[in-house]
Symmetry: C2
Subunit: 568 residues, 2 copies
Amino acid sequence: MAGMHIMARKKSLIMSKYVIGIDFGTLSGRSVLIDVENGNEIATDVLDYSHGVMDSELPDGTKLGVDWALQHPDDYLEVLKKTIPAILSKSGISPAEVIGVGIDFTACTVLPVKADGTPLCKMSEFSSEPNAWIKLWKHHAAQPEANKLNEIAEKQGQKFLKRYGGKISSEWLVPKVWQTLNEAPEVYHAADRFIEAADWIIWQLTGNEIRNTCTAGYKAIWHKHDGYPDNSFFTSLHPGLKDLVIKKLSSELYPVGTKAGEITPEAARLTGLLEGTAVAVANVDAHVSVPAVGITNPGKMLMIMGTSTCHMVLGENERTVPGMCGVVEDGIIEGYFGYEAGQSCVGDHFQWFVENCTPPEYFREAEKKGLDIHDILTEKAKRLKPGESGLVALDWWNGNRSVLVDVDLTGMMIGMTLATKPEEIYLALIEATAYGTRMIIDTFHENGVPVNELYAAGGIAEKNPFIMQIYADVTNREIRISGSPQTPALGSAMFGAVAAGKARGGYDNIVDAAKVMGKVKDIVYKPSADNVRVYDKLYHEYKILHDYFGRGDNDVMKRLKEIKKQVK
Amino acid sequence: MAGMHIMARKKSLIMSKYVIGIDFGTLSGRSVLIDVENGNEIATDVLDYSHGVMDSELPDGTKLGVDWALQHPDDYLEVLKKTIPAILSKSGISPAEVIGVGIDFTACTVLPVKADGTPLCKMSEFSSEPNAWIKLWKHHAAQPEANKLNEIAEKQGQKFLKRYGGKISSEWLVPKVWQTLNEAPEVYHAADRFIEAADWIIWQLTGNEIRNTCTAGYKAIWHKHDGYPDNSFFTSLHPGLKDLVIKKLSSELYPVGTKAGEITPEAARLTGLLEGTAVAVANVDAHVSVPAVGITNPGKMLMIMGTSTCHMVLGENERTVPGMCGVVEDGIIEGYFGYEAGQSCVGDHFQWFVENCTPPEYFREAEKKGLDIHDILTEKAKRLKPGESGLVALDWWNGNRSVLVDVDLTGMMIGMTLATKPEEIYLALIEATAYGTRMIIDTFHENGVPVNELYAAGGIAEKNPFIMQIYADVTNREIRISGSPQTPALGSAMFGAVAAGKARGGYDNIVDAAKVMGKVKDIVYKPSADNVRVYDKLYHEYKILHDYFGRGDNDVMKRLKEIKKQVK
């Protein structure tokens, strides 16, 4: 590793320029130093947030309700302060060689600030009020507001609903801000701005309140041509929201791939970077990963596979695809419509199985062989041919995001016999998530957004060839895997290179940057014709069950949930 | 225990008479000595069969095919020889005080014999031929013959099919005998008789080839008025079967509750009983249990709950109840139509779960508390209210016997979330078997065979109050539990008392015997109104799923089985 750094260092003496990508995750932030010439990673540094996710109390001990999830702005600044100097020092690269910086963030992660950018939670009069803090993406306490918003929007026939699969999530900006107005009007009124944490960081780095179209489009109901929903819509939610768009958001939105500004003297002191270093407009972790695997045109879907899966694909036109999470013009790559879809339960699904349904002898075998329990299950599942288990499952243990957009759907499995073994159930759950992905792909494909090839990033893509082969067989498509273990940070660094521009050693646009810096591994998962044939039959059965239980023929899942609620 | 025997002994000096019930099970035979006056058990003795179930080879090493299950006639005789003297000796009762003997047997358990009763498997020329041995009830190697029989019978519109839920099982007599003709015609032709092991034992005890209507009716397609199917039907199966009924079965059939004869001098030497002791016509283990819990009239269903469940109920008339396993006039209690139904997977279901789906910490907790794993799961499941799990399952892990008569159906579960716990799944499987029972009850009830009260016997009824309460709540019926842990043996002893007759200290009929000797425990499981209300809703969901997957709306289970077969 040290050797690699020295080699890279020597090379840089001749010609290389560097960029930094900073990826703000749920529990930590990481900075990665990337070689502009080839996208290679030179150094990386991670910092866990001191306050992590605040879901039970504020720093001063104020208790939080259920479904709350807050963060502390100082944690983000600490990432800038610690990890940027760390990667410079680890690599021996001088700040002068760093031509640009890009960041990506979880979203919607939003905070109220004063006109000068001061977070309200940092002001003594608001520090005990939960609504003054940063609401993290997975803050779900604004569900009542989301429900009401959807009800009203549907009644009014608001056409924006279609762009979001028919529903605005409680995770998004408007419900979160509305919750603040409902519960802490003093915070709402004292807030000059509500801003994505991503854009707030850019503000801290550049001194400019420059908002990006990606978070605005996917999370704040903004549209390139239509803008935000009308003021009359906001007023119909709550009269107090009448000035939200005009005063507290910003109509100054910049597409991803543009430059937000340059490092200010203050930011230079904080980060150790040189004043004047180019800074890209902020981005979202999932979306920034698309060019990082080299995708800059339609037909190629990126799946980011972890506890859940996020699917992204570019389209030439704006289409209404049932169940998509959002479509945003220039939202991923300028000039294209960026489509997003999702599966709520992927890695979580397999983990649930391991924690709740795997018998002791499997754990004993894992221990004996020094393997992880997933490896043992995989080893056994590998011996099964497609269709041999006789099982089919619906992957709805955590509801269904795309294409049904229904959190009240639940899991189903069919085909068990007294001879059914744990590895068969495990395999059926894996296959179910693959069928779910195929359903998403087919739906895009049939609705004018072609998907011809697949790309995958994230923990599962990185570590699990068995699962990836099943996905290739089920979807009958080749799958390429992200070449970087830090896909979002690489993507952010690429946008940093674009912010710097070609004249300063970077690139003029993300397409050029992606050609050189985007990375996939050598391995390509290719569908096996035999398996495709069997999986086609099994997917046909999945589809029948999917439609029967998911499209209203038999709402048993909802009725069971209702009974559950009543008896609890 | 010794004290009890002495008390009983003292009492007997004054007035008591005794009867012996002999229950021939799958792996062992047991004799029980019963006080005629009150049905109390005085002594019991069990003997495991030396040859057990022969499913891989014959005693001489001849290999058996898959699905074979044979037994050795000497094992049965050994039970008579060892256990009868043992209970006499344990109790101190003299043979003179034993007024009657009754037996019950697994069925259809059938063997070929010579005219003098010699089993063909005991003759040196046939001892290496598997088909010469006793085919145990769970011998499934005659499935091809059963399939062909059903196909032909259906084509011919044979009305007997209706009495058996539309299908003759491969476990029953005609397929088993036909297999012998197909595979070992020399055995078929050398056999003067094919006889139920139950009736063969009676022959050994009394010297009379006296066959019972219970096994003939339920297992050999015999009907009180129509007799066996026409010879033309047998000829249409195979010309060689033309003489089966005329020569090799017997038209001399005696209803249960009649006397088969008396202990012969040879049988007296074998058993230690006195020559001339009355012997009842043979019976089947499940059916003989009905009067043992005091049921002698319609409206009361007995469930014998073990690995699977067998349901028995009496009716006033012959009705066609969908999915019943059989209806036989005088088959259980003379003067009534005895109806039988079944669930293929009950205790087996819970055992499958424990072996395949229960995580290590549950086993650790069981070990720590010194409990069985089922007890730990039950302890946790007890804390759940009906409906709280949000789960519903179809109990078809081993196909569905009643009411759908479809071995190709498989299991299904719905409602799982990432918060679903193992005890919730365990409970859902228990509830699923209860829904299956309710489906059977409702089907009888709606087809003119009322079921107002439930009785239960067998391991689950005996040991599991939690399950029994669920059954009471799901079926909205009171459940009484057999008072004897040896229900079939008690029932056989009662028939022994009837064979002896009132004049010799017994009873004139089984109704009188049941009044005095039939036994239920003091506990009555009563439905709880609150639970009934919730379970009604859940059963409604079960029913929709039952009909959707079981009655042809979506034959996914069969298609998955077909795919499974193809890829294997």
